[in-house]
């Protein structure tokens, strides 16, 4: 049994435990906090895990500061629903499902409700436009989709997302070394329960900035009205830069609902996002800094082949993920820097992971 402390990297641990079949124990979860123990979103995440697995045992002590998790078999299934709550975005949950989905017994088709876009987590748009293409490279071509049925901004959410993930017997090893050149930039500027002018203003600024670099910039303005717009006002911008080799780099910013009053203008937001995208491009790599960890996990879960990936700046989250991958799967990555492009190449031998839950005829 692996033992950890604290709530940090909670999802990583639960997911790695589920995939590797190794039980874990997490202690000292916010033990010094005013409100100790697991938060609602973590409990919700555990409930979601319980929904998509069979035979997993989750034991939480009375204060909620200690958790024992004995993983079961990933079931998946159709017409599942999950209420994600208002603390974290839907992406928080979908990211977890993305890791488990390919190795379930049946394809996952789940509808999640809650906040689609918030500042703390990736927005669902980024997940759809950048994360999914990365996962597709691992051999999950058909049936992988995220649909935003309703948009929900914090604090009240009210968004609704449909997530579908197919199953695979095995992943495919990838060689994502060639980052190529940026071919075009796409984006979505959305606004819910605010004037459509907001999104247009954001869009104009960002586009203005980015047009200096490439002529192929297209940002769609996405304004929601009525029932589809959720319960709270909000607006934001998601940008994706696509390279000639099909890699996607993303940047996103969310104009917080308080921000509407707090004086940060939509123009500022647009500029911020555009600059963040340029920063991503500057960092380089075939995967942007938000999705590094996911790509690395999938590399580990490949058959016993060499996978290679070029990453830009390594985030703290990714580093911890690498450590977890070693703890759970025993995989150590070969890390080579590329002096010329200031990127790092991560190489690993897959562990030959198979979808054990899948049933043959």
């Amino acid at each position: 049994m692996l033992k950890y402390q604290g709530c940090t990297h909670f999802r990583q641990r639960i997911i790695c435990a589920t995939l590797s079949g190794r039980p874990i124990k997490i202690t000292n979860i916010r033990d010094e906090d005013e409100k100790p123990g697991l938060r609602d979103f973590e409990a919700s995440f555990l409930r979601l895990i319980d929904k998509v697995t069979n035979g997993s045992k989750i034991e939480i002590n009375t204060t909620g500061t200690a958790l024992t998790y004995i993983p079961g078999i990933i079931m998946g299934g159709k017409s599942l629903t999950h209420e994600c709550g208002q603390s974290r975005g839907i992406s928080y949950f979908v990211e977890g499902l993305l890791c488990l989905g390919p190795f379930a017994k049946a394809a996952i088709d789940i509808t999640l409700t809650g906040i689609t876009n918030n500042d703390l987590d990736l927005t669902i748009d980024t997940l759809r436009t950048t994360t999914l293409p990365i996962i597709r490279k691992f051999g999950l071509e058909e049936g992988l989709s995220i649909k935003v049925l309703k948009r929900g901004a914090p604090p009240n959410g009210g968004g609704m997302v449909n997530f579908k993930c197919p199953i695979v017997p095995q992943l495919r090893a990838v060689q994502l070394v060639d980052e190529g050149k940026i071919r075009r930039i796409r984006g979505i500027a959305y606004a819910t329960r605010v004037s459509p002018q907001f999104s247009n203003r954001v869009l104009d600024t960002a586009k203005g900035l980015l047009l200096e670099f490439t002529p192929d910039v297209y940002i769609s303005s996405d304004h929601y009205r009525g029932t589809e717009s959720g319960l709270s006002p909000g607006y934001g911008l998601t940008l994706v830069a696509e390279t000639t080799t099909g890699c996607c780099l993303s940047a996103e910013c969310m104009g917080s609902s308080s921000g509407i009053d707090s004086g940060e203008s939509p123009e500022d937001l647009g500029k911020k996002t555009a600059l963040a995208l340029l920063e991503e491009i500057l960092n380089g790599g075939c995967v942007d800094s938000h999705n590094q960890s996911l790509a690395l996990l999938f590399m580990v879960l490949c058959p016993e082949d060499i996978s290679k990936i070029r990453l830009g700046k390594i985030t703290e989250y990714t580093m911890e993920y690498l450590r977890h991958l070693r703890d759970f799967f025993g995989v150590t990555f070969k890390i080579e820097p590329d002096q010329d492009s200031k990127t790092v190449i991560f190489t690993c031998l897959g562990i030959g992971f198979k979808n054990m839950a899948r049933s043959t005829f």
Partner: protein, 1174 residues
Amino acid sequence: MDFTKDKKKVHRVSKAGAKANKKKAAKLKKLEQNEALRNKNPKAFVYSSAHAALKGQRRTLDLEQKRVNLPVIDRSGTAIETPPYVVAVVGPPQVGKTTLIRSLIKNYTRHSIQEVKGPITIVAGKKRRLTFIECNNDLNSMIDTAKVADLVLLLIDASYGFEMETFEFLNVLKTHGFPKVIGILTHLDSFKNNKKLKKTKKRFKDRFWHEIYQGAKLFYLSGLIHGKYPKVEIHNLARFISVANFIPLTWRNTHPFVHVDRFEDTTDQELLRNNPKADRNICLYGYVRGTYLKPHMKVHIPGSGDYQMKSVTSLPDPCPLPNERKKTLNEKERLLYAPMGDIGNIQYDKDAVYVNIPQRNGRSTEDSDDDEYDSESQGIGEGMVKNLRDSKYTLDEKMKNSEITLFSDRSIKFSNSDELSDKDYYDSDNEDGTTTTASKPDTRNRRKVKFIDLKKNPTEMGSDDEDDDDKMDEDEEDSDDDSEDQEEEDELEDDGKLHFEDEEDDSDNEKEVLDYYDPDNVYNIKGSDDEDEDEEDDNVEEEEVESAKWKENFKFTKSNINSSVNLAKLIYGDRDSNKNSKKEEEEEEEFFKVKKGGFGSLKLKKDQDADSGYNQVDTSKYHRDVLKDLNDFTSPDLKEFILKKFVSKTDLLNTGLVGTDDHDNEDKVLFGDFEDLETGEKFSGNKKSEDSDEEDEEEENEDEENEDKEGEEGKSENIYDKERKKNRNSKEEKIKKINAKVESEEKDWAGDLNDQAKKQREINQKEFENDDAFYRQQYEGFPIGVYVRIEFERIPCEFSDYFDPLYPIIIGGLLSNEENLGMVNVSIKKHRWHKKILKSNDPLTMSMGWRRFQTIVMYSTKDINGRNRMLKYTPEHMHCHGSFYGPLTPPGTGFIAFNNINNNQASFRVNATGTVLDLDSTIDVVKKLKLVGQPTKILKKTCFVHGMFNSKLEVAKFQGATIRTVSGIRGQIKKAASHPDGDFRATFEDKVLASDIIFLRTWYKVQPIKFYNPVTSLLQRNKIQWQGMKTVGQLRYEKGLRAPVKEDSVYGEVERVQKKYTPLQIPNSLQAELPFHLKPKNQSGKILNESDRLLRNRVKVQEPEEKRVKDLIQRLKIIKQRKIEKEDERRQLKSQQLQEKHDKQEKVRLERQKEQKKRKAKLQALGKGKKTKN
């Protein structure tokens, strides 16, 4: 052997030489002629119609499809050196297994071995090593052997015939992937009659082919010569073995394993003296096979259990292949390695090399009778060993005194310390290997030589230093808790300066970079742990170098990435030695620190999250702090740089990649089209359309041409001709199209998978080629072909105490999830040779994956409606589902089941075989349940039922359920009745009889019994007699009990009480109204009133006349009666006679028929016999 003597020599077609060349030339000429003909008259060689072409294509496609296989990816290709192939010699006792191994080894290495104990590895050729193992007659050994053998030599005693063991073993082989099998018939010398011998051979071959595949190789070994098989035959067999090629097997392709060829108990002797039953530490040795063996892996040792490897170290190959490429092996290169049998000369240990010197070849060649060794060439190592032995002083004394220089090029120090790094062995492979193997054996005495390298391993040094550093750092931290913040700031400032001052040096001077990357004061990469400080630092930085150019800033990022080693160290390094425990300790320290700082005042949630390292916010999103953190992209230099990362505008415009028309699509669909845009490039789309355009044009052109031609010829030819031509053209086109399509698809199919696999294999091979062996091992584990020493801790003492080299030991690696237990759904079929059907909930001993275990299987079948219905017994000749609690094994894995794996069973021991379908934590198998009740109160179609349930709650659960009476009246449960608990009201489609029984048919979920018992045959003194759980039947048999009889199930005499019905009484008033025919008539004996009774009781007196008449009538009646009787009798007699006559005729006829049949059969038989004789 002489039975072919009489036959004429068979004609041999020459394959080389003048005659062969002539034939070849003739063949070629014929081909050319054909080709010429084809060119001359192409019409004769095409399909006459499009339909026929299609048909033909379909046929070829079908054939093609049959041929096509999913390519099996051979992972052994990435090995540096393939491990020795395991050649298992299998057969019943007294068949000649040991003799065969001895003969083969003699053939390969010129060694004469006496007994075969444990695996024997030899160098068989320039590129091939073989490990011979003898499989004894125990079923457990046979299973384990089947799991590791690459080639099986299946010995069959021809004088006796096939034995059960052979077929049992073949069945085991089939379930665990079928390795190559070569059959060998022995004891052929017992046949004196040539004809009989020939017949026997044929019979054996037929059966063998049937069992394996048509054309499987079967060898014949005639009698023994000097206790060995004839040299020529063995030589032929050896040649076959050395050219055999092996197909990769799925299980072994995905699981690493080690077939143990050496065993060592390393438990502390003192501990053993105190407690002989203490758990042992053991070391097992062997070549890594299958795939990469990863040190962290859990392993299963069949016959013992699951273990965690304590350590894995690679050792120099004890039986290396020759280095130089020569035509033949010389005597020295024909190595033999069999530590379990004490045959080989050299054994390697982690910290020692044992040189085992056989006595017979003494140093002064005392016994010259031995012809195996030519001791003429004495290697350096040999001399060294001799010197060592000749020295007067003991090794200890020597070591105390001095260092001995043994090799000219290298100094080796003998010391008592037993630490030697892994890497050293990995690296010093060649040197050590050559030196030690070169040493020639001298005496039987074993002497331990311990040595250690003087030069310490650089990596180890490094890591040691690191540890020290770490410790130092920690100490510092501990001591300087109070002034921590201040210091950190200082440090950071320093870092900043350092970095800005010598940016050039950064890249060159690794040490400084290393400092920079020290995890304690990492600047940018270390995230929220000290975010506040970071920000502060940012500020400081900005203040200090406000005018810092972007370049410097940029360099900063560059330097970040500069040193991979440090990045790797940052991620993995600090926990290299003891990861989890140490980490926790550290964290605990931190934990206390934080408490100190934050004591007294409760911090806000956000602050705390940021502060305490282990309770951070969990998000994958990378948060850039603020705008100012970002680079200034307006500066021209940076802009220029970043522009290089974009496709240039001119290029874009040229290729038309600027997708202005994309926008329309996007507008239509607000989201969801991003992916499409990436995958379906616009570029290709354009191309496609162009292509199609071209095609169209071409077609048009063709049409025009045709028209033109027609125009020219049209005048002379009639319309029919035109039509025909057109048809023909279109036909040809069709055929062409079909052909093209087929070809392209073929290419796709053949290309895709194989090319991909090939490419990937190349990548795999290349990737870690240039890496240091130490790192390489870290990245990928131990590759195939490496000789490893695996250390285990806390192994039960029986494993070591009852260790027997005759029983194979396998260390099978388990992939993630495979170590867990769960419900396994399998498809199972009773073996056709097993006499009984299998019963649910009877224990079965299985072999699945690496494991052998006993479990309880529950059988079920899937009904048409998808329900899994439990079966009490397996079907006789069909597959059914089985569910049991056992180890999770990937779906598709085969298994074989036995009732009893002991050797005390005469009949066929294999019970069933099957494959894993599905894994789950729970299973959904149901069993039929009938609840029975009686009607209590019947009101028209409603009825109250009693006795089905016990409480209202139960009724409530089944409300609305359909029920039925035995007579077939259907109904429904309505509601629980108020009074007797469990009664309910039900409605039926008709009135229910009070005597009817009402039942409710439901399904009850059953779970298989959770029983999992690994077979621990290796932990027993008597390895053959492993007793698992017995079946109930077995127990009853042993105790002399009979199956219990249920009283209800016994059939008895049914006593039926005659029912008495009260007579029907119709009231008088009703009677009066009834029509006459319905009125009750005056029944006889029925007394209506007083007068009637009087009338009846009156005596009747007849007149004499009356009496006479009556008498007469009476007599006449009797006469008539007699007449009739007589007539009857006569008729009966007549018919009887007739019948008899008829019977007689019939009998004669039948007899004749029978005779005819007999004759016919005889004739037929005779005819056939003639045929067979011919």
